[in-house]
Amino acid sequence: MAEVKLLGVSLSPFSRRVEWALKIKGVEYEFVEQDLQNKSSLLLESNPIHKKIPVLIHNGKPICESMIIVEYIDETFEGPSILPKDPYDRAIARFWAKFFDEKCLPVLGKTWFGQGEESEKAKEEASELIKILDNELKDKKFFVGDKIGFADMAANLVTYWLGIIEEASGNVLVTSEKFPNFCAWKDNYSNCSQVKEHLPPRDAILAHFKARFQAAADATAPK
């Protein structure tokens, strides 16, 4: 049995956060692709309360929630550090990771999948949130320090995935005219070799989201 197993979905940014952390530490692992429409008994046993990916199984013990897993990896394995050493810098990194997951993601989801007024309202809110990120990233290469870290990884969805989702939906929210610092950070992030070499194929993500948008449009089309 592999010492480190990752239950994930290869197209998912949440899975990729964990994979990036494992790769940066040089940890060998077995990736077990999950079918979320037909969840495996291993997934359900390992994460009974949320039933979600990713789940890291290390020496038989499951750890759930992607950023909790990333922190676990940082503390368990040798190699370049993912969180900074200073407690204040760590707090800042955790703050931006939480801001991203709890504030930005749900609102972005509504801009893509919400209907009518809900979607329009979400677009305004999303712009305000990206503006906050844009202000924070002024004169900064990454969220904390001069190398990719915890907070950058938490925001991974708005780097590679965002552009593809916007192409699939036909709605563009993020431009370098409106958010120059945020877009500069996005480019810095995407060009890092640790990231560039470990991204899922663009076509597969595009096809996945095009299908989801089509299904959502079909569901709301007049009969």
Binding site: K61, E65, I68, E71, P87, Y88, F95, K98
Partner: protein, 223 residues
């Protein structure tokens, strides 16, 4: 200027956590009571994104979000009363439980209080699911932290005190000794600790606040 400042509200579960952690560690601090309907300029300056309590200010630098503040306190004042375990797996579990309380449990409780019909029932189910999980996690330990109060105990003060007050205020009893024997025992033990009694608001002060809140929301909904 005090080296450590805490911005909070009297009945606030999240800022009380921060104060508990500081008291356990013997750290002196200045407490500033905020008025939610008239927030101070300092609070807005220190927490411009969320504009809410708690905020910890240490040597002029603000830290926001209660779980992040607790970790900061634990990492900064390491020598006394460690709140999180040393083992990375135990730490990951502690983070998982804290999020379970702050996310799933708080949302479920909201459905129980304000949901209608099916949503209310779903809330009851989800509340009990989390309570059962916590009950199982305790096993034979006195506290979630083992022999001493730790990170999860501090976070779970929400369940011990505030949820108890909410149940009384809305006339619901989901957390019973019968269904959750270990958790109930922990609540009795936890709330009778001197440091807890001295630093949490008395339950009698919380019940009328929640009754008033609940009545106001119910009236608004039916008008």
């Amino acid at each position: 200027m005090a080296e450590v400042k805490v911005y909070g509200i009297f009945a606030g579960p999240f800022n009380r956590r921060v104060e508990l952690a500081l008291k356990l560690k013997g750290v002196e601090y200045e407490y500033i009571e905020e008025d939610r309907s008239n927030k101070s300029a300092e609070l807005v300056k220190y927490n411009p994104i969320y504009k809410q309590v708690p905020v910890l200010v240490h040597n002029g630098k603000p830290i926001c979000e209660s779980l992040i503040i607790l970790e900061y306190i634990d990492e900064t004042w390491q020598a006394i009363a460690p709140l999180l375990p040393k083992d990375p797996y135990q730490r990951a579990m502690a983070h998982f439980l804290a999020r379970l309380i702050d996310e799933k449990f708080v949302m479920a409780k909201y459905k129980v209080c304000y949901g209608k019909g099916e949503e209310k029932e779903k809330g009851r189910g989800e509340t009990c699911e989390v309570l059962k999980y916590l009950d199982n996690e305790l096993q034979d330990k006195i506290f979630f932290g083992g022999d001493n109060i730790g990170f999860v105990d501090i976070v779970a003060s929400y369940v011990a005190l505030w949820f108890g007050a909410i149940q009384e205020a809305i006339g619901v009893e989901l957390l019973t000794k019968q269904k959750f024997p270990k958790l109930s025992k922990w609540i009795d033990e936890f709330l009778s600790c001197r440091i807890i009694m001295e630093n949490l608001p008395p339950r009698e002060t919380l019940v009328p606040l929640y009754k008033a809140q609940f009545e106001a929301a119910t009236q608004k909904a039916s008008s």
